[in-house]
Symmetry: C2
Subunit: 417 residues, 2 copies
């Protein structure tokens, strides 16, 4: 539909041996999307001249904008800059602004100015320098046959800083395109097949320029409507209508009408209700607290938590009775109930969430099967408990328990079962 | 060097709009790497027939093995299976094993058996089914012109389960190749330029089949040696020699000689020394505890932590004096010192780590600039404190503070400054 098509090329052997998870591409895609630029493809290649050139050739044949990240550091495995210089037929020249910035950085850090660092001030004379205030490797903007190629360092915060300050403003000036809008519906408690069946007629009736996608996760499914159209006002209204119709049909499982994580949904509710929450985490080891505190303003409702990894802390800090643990075990309904009650008392909150379980290894040691997790949510009058069984490995079980725990809090405060 | 080349194609609009971060590719790359299979390229494309076919054509031209993930669900946006059926000229047929598994899953979940679900039991007759015990979408193994194409669902735990049980054993039978080995050196406290300068001669003297890569992170640089050779014994010895020589040259900054995260290095030390650790986290909100408890066996040394997000909890649970907070502020050397001492006492541990700071918003409210973080490490005799200033946004600052905190614990127990 006439939109600008972009490709992202990420460079680095670490991406191909699985040593590093690529978060840059997702962030770049989000930013381009907001401008109405479609990312058609993302390609990761190693630190190999031949592979990088093939990727540039192929992606430039398909897209009007190619963003390249990585390979701009000062060490021998970083080959992107000389390669791009050759690819675009340029000559390396010292850039005085970058040079001054490098010297200033080294002095501030009390480091000698190495020749290796000075090399970073050299850039191809056929590019526009995108200044990197956060680091030593400058970004570069090339143009060829009316296409734009942007080269950025792979270090995430340097990449973000150059994109925000230098690249995005220039891209906005350069490209205009159709509006691209998204709407989300977050649901909990039913699978994607159930939902698809329930809303079959609504999905089939969507106009051709609106697409529906199902994104299943732990106990939840996110629905995403994507529309593209010249007329942004009409598109916005069409999307709102479709979102409202779908949400009404599956009202009993709707968690939120925007694409926000569960921790954000919780923060909204607790802050609106002026209620406070405290945690008592054993097997999730602080991960629920970590999630809740990812949200700005969490301190308004989240007072804190006890990571009671050992039984001693369950007893001495949370006040779980030694007899309870002796009689029922650390992973039991009785213990998790006392943990939740203890958290409300010790942390002096309106609500609490508690979790205790065994994520891997030999659960038989605790008298329960591996993967058994007990959770409890409490207010000052009630405690609701639930037993889970997670079948995966330690890390996946921990993530699952964290998600299911937040979902349990959400259900409790919304009176859902 | 005669190794098998592979490509990974991930399918899903969510990957191109940045809604989801691709962790599957990294995991698949690690597994293939262990078998000596090189991943040449990773490509992400949207739920578009034309784009998927282009990607298949291009990657099959370059690689002997192509792994495709995503687009196998039961909803309308999932188009991979019929597309592959057409691409390989097959016919859709019901697979009885998959059908029986689907019915059994639905009954176990107490769900009606929908026609939509039954569709998932249909597979192209030109593929070998890779059984998916974790979910409803079967994996598929195709062969064409002596090349192998594997299609897997995008849900991470289903993908992992099919790879481990079905795909990897078949791949091992099918492909043999050169040995590919890695060695790592984890360092802390100096930048990559400094290290590159120090080991310049060693790097230049590396044999051609061994490559050195620098992977900078928060306060740390990981060095990775990668070698490839028919003779695995020789390669192993060459890599050990190179690793030892480099490590000796920069001994004062070496944290570990294997590619393990800092939380693993800490777990090793504390478990060997039979010492215990406790935490008092304010601004990191449980993230340090979360990291420490990612390591199996953490409970042997990590007793727990207090997430003292509010001042009340700093005072009432950790025993920080109200007068200290009133006089010096919650973000101060005095407060963090009392938090660390309080943690040792309340949690009854040999060592403690404490952190308090402001990651975003208006630090002026707390009388300090935004991004100011105080940390302390203590044993029963000593407390060491340090002030940090993190210049990024909330989430990045939280990650940085978590990494720098673990590094501070490591320095304390190793008597490094």
């Amino acid at each position: 539909m006439g939109n600008i098509a972009a490709a992202i090329i990420t460079i680095g052997d670490e991406l191909l041996i699985g040593q590093v998870i690529d978060t840059n591409s997702a962030w770049i895609a989000q930013q381009l999307n907001k401008m109405g630029i479609d990312v058609l493809r993302r390609v990761a290649v190693g630190d190999s001249k031949a592979e990088i050139i093939t990727a540039l050739d192929e992606e430039l044949a398909k897209a009007s904008l190619v963003i390249v990240t990585g390979g701009l550091g000062p060490t021998a495995d970083d080959i992107t800059k000389p390669l791009l210089n050759e690819y675009f037929g340029g000559k390396m020249m010292v850039n005085e602004q970058v040079l001054a910035h490098l010297k200033e950085m080294m002095i501030r850090r009390n480091r000698p100015v190495l020749e290796r660092n000075m090399k970073q001030a050299e850039v191809p004379d056929v590019c526009t320098v995108l200044f990197n205030k956060m680091g030593s490797a400058p970004g570069m903007w090339f143009e060829k046959d009316d296409k734009v190629i942007i080269s950025l360092p792979g270090v995430p915060f340097e990449m973000v800083s150059i994109m925000e300050d230098e690249a995005l403003p220039r891209l906005k000036e350069r490209f205009t395109s159709d509006a691209l809008l998204h709407r989300s519906i977050i649901t909990a408690g039913e699978g994607e097949s159930y939902i698809a069946e329930k809303i079959k007629d609504l999905e089939e009736a969507l106009p051709q320029h609106i697409r529906l996608a199902y994104l299943p996760g732990a106990g939840m499914v996110r629905l995403r409507l994507t529309g593209r159209c010249k007329d942004i006002t009409m598109l916005d209204s069409e999307l709102s209508t479709a979102q409202a119709a779908i949400a009404a049909r599956i009202e009993h499982i709707v968690v939120a009408l925007e694409d926000i994580p569960l921790e954000h949904v919780l923060a909204n509710w607790f802050r609106e209700q002026h209620k406070t929450l405290g945690l008592a985490e054993s097997c999730t080891g602080g991960n629920v607290a970590h999630h809740l505190t990812q949200i700005k303003g969490a301190s308004e409702y989240f007072k804190g938590g006890i990571v009671s990894y050992s039984n001693e802390i369950k007893e001495q800090v949370l006040g779980v009775a030694t007899a309870t643990i002796d009689q029922y075990g650390a992973i039991s309904e009785e213990t998790v109930t006392e943990m939740a009650k203890g958290a409300i008392k010790v942390l002096d909150t309106d609500y609490s969430f508690a979790v205790t379980g065994i994520l891997d290894a030999d659960g038989a040691l605790y008298g329960v099967p591996s993967g058994t997790v007990w959770m409890a949510v409490a207010d000052k009058q009630h405690v609701v408990t639930k037993k889970f069984y997670f079948p995966f490995d330690r890390l996946r079980n921990k993530d699952m328990a964290t998600s299911m725990g937040m979902l349990m809090i959400w259900k409790f405060i919304n009176n859902r079962s």
